[in-house]
């Protein structure tokens, strides 16, 4: 009943209006690479974008996020830091919407983490559906993340001359008032949307030789696969994959002390299980030192542990890690190889 249809130029005008009054972040292009950045108006936006270098989740869990401030004199004073500013996150793709759902599950519902909640509450998320695969690296279709189920306030689908607009939340319903020129969707619009979706489903040909739902079992069965040794030899431990991943959330916590030596900030910063120091303890012993174990852990964390724990995909098939890996470690190849040669054991 709340669905709308908005003409393309009306959407452009609405975005321009929004950008005048709010902080709007949206995908912009830089040569061959896209990223989410603050825009001044619709003209800054690049509609042909494929998954951005860093995922839009960087606005929900920034690479560096202050947690508390501290200062001492006679007493210690400690204050939490929350970034409670409102902003509009425009143009989030379905894979990333699924990633946001997972982060919500962990940081909001399970952990009640106020730092995440502050940013999440401040975000109004407008998703945009994908109608064809972005490039050879993505495999959202196989992971069941092409269909955006939640995680958005509004969801747009390109319907040729305009966008079909779906509402995900109360906040989204409020946002509708900002879409000037939008009209209520009617039967004919909904029929058209169904056709668009049918065509979309044809456009995404299967890339994985294994059903997404079978990946946890495949990984559990591949613990001794020789493939991990091969990947371990190649991996540069550069952390490109975990930095790029919308569902990676590991971090380090550090203190930054001011020059007065009496006050400072504690912050968290992205960390990666691909780095040697990640699991090191006391005597310098690392519990996951060999590179092949680190690579194996990443694939298992994404493809198995998170699924088992939260019942939703830990890898949303955005393809970023494979796109960025200099030595070609791509989940499509990894899953297919594991599927193809499960007998090769150490």
């Amino acid at each position: 009943m709340f669905d709308r249809v908005i003409g393309k130029s009306d959407l452009t005008d609405s975005l321009d209006n929004l950008a005048e009054r709010y902080r709007v972040v949206a995908p912009v292009s830089e040569g061959t690479r896209y990223r989410f950045a603050e825009i001044d108006g619709a003209r800054d936006l690049d509609e042909g974008y494929i998954p951005t270098a860093l995922p839009p989740t960087k606005y929900l869990r920034p690479p560096r996020e202050n947690l508390i401030t501290f200062a001492w004199d006679d007493e210690i004073q400690v204050e939490p830091v929350f970034d409670q500013s409102d902003f509009i996150l425009f143009g989030v793709r379905p894979c990333d919407l699924h990633a946001i759902r997972l982060l919500d599950e962990i940081f909001d519902r399970e952990k009640d983490d106020g730092h995440y909640q502050a940013r999440r509450l401040g975000a109004s998320i407008i998703g945009v559906e994908c109608l064809e695969p972005c490039d050879e690296h993505c495999f959202c279709h196989a992971m069941g993340t092409l269909e955006a189920a939640a995680g958005f306030d509004l969801l747009l689908t390109d319907a040729g001359d305009g966008y079909y607009v779906r509402v995900g939340t109360d906040k989204g319903r409020q946002l509708l008032t900002e879409l000037s020129g939008a009209r209520e969707a009617v039967y004919e619009d909904r029929r058209r949307l169904r056709k668009i979706h049918a065509r979309r489903d044809q456009a995404f040909e299967p890339r994985l030789d294994v059903e997404g739902s079978q990946i946890p079992a495949l990984l559990a069965d591949s613990n001794d696969s020789l493939l991990w040794d091969v990947l371990g030899e190649k991996c540069l431990s550069c952390g490109a994959c975990t930095n790029a991943c919308p569902t990676c959330f590991c971090f380090d916590v550090l203190d930054d002390l001011g020059l007065d030596l009496k006050s400072g900030t504690r912050y968290r910063t992205w960390d990666s299980c691909q780095l040697e120091e990640f699991a090191m303890v006391g005597t310098g012993e690392s519990f996951r030192q060999p590179r092949d174990m680190r690579v194996k852990h990443r694939f298992n964390h994404k493809g198995r542990y998170l699924v088992e724990r939260y019942g939703m995909p830990g890898c949303v098939g955005c393809g970023r890690c494979g796109r960025d890996c200099l030595v070609g470690i791509d989940p499509i190849g990894v899953f297919n190889q594991l599927k193809g040669q499960p007998v090769e054991r150490r």
């Binding site: 400690v78 409102d86 916590v253 030596l261 968290r268």
Partner: protein, 283 residues
């Protein structure tokens, strides 16, 4: 937009420590110091033996430490800390009355309640005595609730033994079978020499009613588990506490993962049955 803005919500930070004051500081060894702390708001820590806290020396950082005192001992709590780096070194330079940050108690502790009425076999190697002391003192303070109590403690050398006054007391008690050993003998050492496993041969284990609890380095686990299993104790009754790299202590930061398990949350106390399935447990 008529939307509720984020600023209208009241939020909590899981990273906001409470302040605690250092009220006592005892040097136990070259590198280990026992700190007695009291929360500034006057409240009890409310921990279970086997749980840990995240301690902040502001400006230096935060690190996890086992609670070494028993919950039966009132409004203060104790941490026994080895100086190895930044936080532990900074803490050592603090004095009485200085305040540290405390988050916790965190993690899953020892199953004290299910141990009641049963025999306890408590085995510590090295710094493992620090968390185990919390359980030992708890059991001794409520001695009548438990069956036979056997304590085995192994350390590198006689000089490395911690809590020596208490060891003497435990040794003197009639209702406790306490034994220690050191890997290498010292000039005045008259006790057993060899790893903890050598003590094992001299005790009798009632496989039907004993709960073994062990805390120590991975090598100790590997050997002791074998012996305990050989006594016929089922895998899901063997209790062990692990150490891993930790940052957040609340299952967010990922550092402490063993396969899919967060040690800070599902542990640090596990049963052998739980750990056996995990390759990265390194047992």
């Amino acid at each position: 937009m008529n939307v509720q803005t984020a600023a209208e919500f009241i939020l909590d930070s899981p990273f906001l420590p409470r302040s605690a004051e250092i009220i006592r500081k005892d040097r136990l060894n070259d590198t280990e110091t026992l700190y007695q702390l009291r929360l500034m708001d006057g409240s009890e820590l409310g921990h279970l033996p086997g749980q840990f806290v995240e301690l902040s020396v502001y400006g230096v950082g935060e690190a996890p430490f086992s609670i070494s005192s028993s919950p039966t001992r009132g409004r203060t709590f104790e941490l026994c800390i080895r100086r190895v780096g930044d936080v532990t070194g900074g803490l050592e330079r603090l004095g009485l009355g200085d305040q540290v940050g405390i988050r916790g108690p965190l993690g899953r502790g020892f199953p004290v309640e299910t141990m009641r009425g049963k025999k306890a076999l408590l085995i510590a190697g090295g710094l493992g005595i620090v968390p185990l002391r919390s359980l030992i003192v708890n059991i001794l303070d409520e001695r009548e609730d438990f069956g036979d109590v056997t304590i085995l403690y192994g350390s590198k050398s006689p000089d490395d033994l911690l809590f020596r006054d208490e060891l003497t007391q435990w040794e003197a008690r009639e209702d406790v079978d306490f034994r220690m050993t050191t890997d290498i003998a010292g000039p005045k050492w008259k006790g057993n020499v060899g790893p903890v496993t050598t003590l094992f041969r001299r005790i009798e284990v009632d496989s039907r009613n004993t709960v073994p609890v062990m805390v120590g380095p991975p090598v100790m686990f590997r050997h002791v588990v074998k012996q305990v299993l050989a006594c016929g104790i089922p895998e899901d009754r063997i209790i062990m506490s692990l150490e891993r790299r930790m940052k957040c202590g609340i299952g967010e930061c990922g550092h402490c993962q063993i396969n899919g398990v967060y040690v800070c949350q599902e542990g640090p106390v596990f049963t052998y049955a739980e750990l056996k399935r995990m390759e990265e447990a390194m047992l």
